[in-house]
Amino acid sequence: MRGFVPFLGHRLFRALIALWLVSTVVFVVMRLSGDPVPLLLPPDAPHSEIMRVRRDLGLDKPLPVQYVIFLSNLARGDFGRSIHFREPAFDVVRGYLAATLELGLTAFFLAALIAVPIGLFSAMRRNTLVDHAAMGLALIGQSAPTFFLGILFILLLSLKADLFPTSGRGDWRNLVLPALTLGAFTMASIARLTRSAVLEVLGADYIRTARAKGVSEMWVVAKHTLKNAAIPIVTITGLQFGTLLGGAVVTETVFSWPGIGRLAVQSIYNRDYAVVQCTVFLAALMFVVINFFVDLIYGVLDPRIRAG
């Protein structure tokens, strides 16, 4: 296991730097966006009242001081109070987190469960009609704008075919269209990747050896192919999870899904700094943590990578 601990240490260090940069950018952008206090008070509020609220929120201090306070609070897990909901920002975001996780995880597993078999099948039936059709669809899935895909699903499957509700959160039927919309890009990417990874492995010498030995085709695919194709699949899968978080902003808006993506957009309009900071920070944190685990799985699947 030589080199594994420094390898992880290096990754952890870079992850922390990324988090720090992300939070700094959020701080700068949100502070540039103007004074939130007039939004909180009635238009005829006296000047003394405005000053009092500013002081309560710490907005009267110089920017560098606000920044230091912001960072030290962040380190303690304190994201400040939401000026719109009038409770700690973290509590607000936590209330919306479950919906996003439900949507994100469903989209992700739906994508992986559908895409890996399709990619595998495409590779084994290479250059057949099925392969071309599947890969053609995958290309469309990769380039189609998320918001329009959602609109198309609503139009065709909800309004015309009346199979699913158009929006909101409820039972599983509410989940299908947003999950398909959010997962489309991921599904397409994983399908294409699985196909090419499996094709590459199928051409390798040891697969020929296995076949020559009389190993059954099923076993060749199950044992040799999938295991060796797993490394690129795991990598892209980790990366895709980050894309999913970004895609959640658009998908949740299209389907009025009460998750943190929609909350973030609304909070930006409300100039609710604390909530925006908290959402963005949590999203970045999730991304960084997931990639950290992807690295771990990586190191287990292919010890050579640790050296790099």
């Binding site: 730097i17 704008p145 139009l155 957009v265 963005v280 991304f287």
Partner: protein, 302 residues
């Protein structure tokens, strides 16, 4: 170093189809590239000649002709091949004019991102050490971030004007150029011809302009094409969220948003601009893929 981090490996790298007959590829691609470039050319032509091509004024409202289905003879006595919207405006004319917003913002954003990213990549590649580490750390951080949130934030703060949109969309794409140029400069830098220019007293600027840039130009063209598709989709997404070019100027994303409330009764308002956007995005990004295979196969392994 930086490129070994999975969080930042360009997604395309692992997506490239690895095993296909190379000979067949080479024969097939130029025709497809020509078709793709031709499509973009056609789109540019449509955008430039919009006043000549559009059957009607794209912002002219007509109360009598509201929500007309695609027809040769509307209630207002005019042909509306793609129908009219909730204000009685001709959808076909708006789709034609909408190409202007998509293309002008798309190309400008690619220019901004390309110049910025290339400069950053060249700087990182030539300087190594701290400057390099700093640039690549910022690049990694940007990739660790759902950029759409940042874009929405900045535009909500500064207001959705044309320059803001171009800069924000441009900024969203600089990382791809920077990463790939950096790695190519690192390779070129140690090549003998660059070293010998140094030894002969050639300036750094001369090395960059006369020797490095021509060598990386094809990579830049490939990335720019792929980025163009992304920029057009991002602009449409922002317009859909109400943060793009403001009404009444028609934009494809904005039209999809406007038609959303009438999806049940007047599906054509959202569907036609959306389909045109989707086709544009697919054709442009496929053209980028094909260009990559023709011009610069090494990028696939990047």
């Amino acid at each position: 170093m930086a490129s070994s981090i999975p969080a930042s490996a360009p997604a395309d790298a692992v997506l490239a189809p690895a095993a296909r007959a190379p000979a067949r590829r080479r024969r097939r691609f130029p025709a497809l590239v020509v078709a793709g470039v031709g499509f973009v050319g056609l789109l540019l032509l449509v955008a430039a000649a919009a006043p000549l091509l559009a059957p009607q004024d794209p912002i002219r409202q007509s109360l009598r002709g509201r929500l007309a289905a695609p027809t040769w003879q509307g209630a207002d006595g005019r042909a509306h091949l793609l129908g009219t919207d909730h204000l009685g405006r001709d959808v076909l004319s708006r789709v034609i004019y909408g190409s202007r917003v998509s293309l002008v913002i798309g190309f400008s954003a690619v220019l901004v991102g390309g110049i910025l990213g290339s400069a950053a990549g060249l700087a990182a590649g030539f300087s190594s050490g701290r400057v390099d580490a700093a640039i690549m750390t910022v690049a990694d951080a940007q990739l660790a971030f759902p950029f759409i949130l940042l874009a929405i934030g900045i535009i909500a703060v500064l207001g959705p004007s044309f320059p803001t949109l171009v800069v924000v969309i441009g900024l969203s794409g600089w990382v791809s150029y920077a990463r790939i140029l950096r790695s190519q400069v690192l390779v070129l830098r140690s090549r003998e011809f660059v070293e010998s220019i140094h030894a002969l007293g050639g300036s750094l600027a001369r090395v960059v302009l006369r020797h490095v840039l021509p060598n990386v130009l094809s990579s830049i063209v490939v990335i720019a094409t792929l980025e163009l598709a992304r920029a057009i989709v991002l602009e449409a997404t922002l317009s859909f969220l109400g943060l793009g070019i403001q009404p009444p100027t028609p934009s494809w994303g904005g039209m999809v948003q406007e038609g959303r409330e009438y999806l049940d009764s007047a599906w054509w308002i959202s569907t036609f601009p959306g389909i045109v956007l989707m086709i544009t995005s697919i054709v442009v990004s496929r053209t980028g893929d094909w260009l990559r295979d023709v011009l610069d196969p090494t990028l696939r392994g990047e």
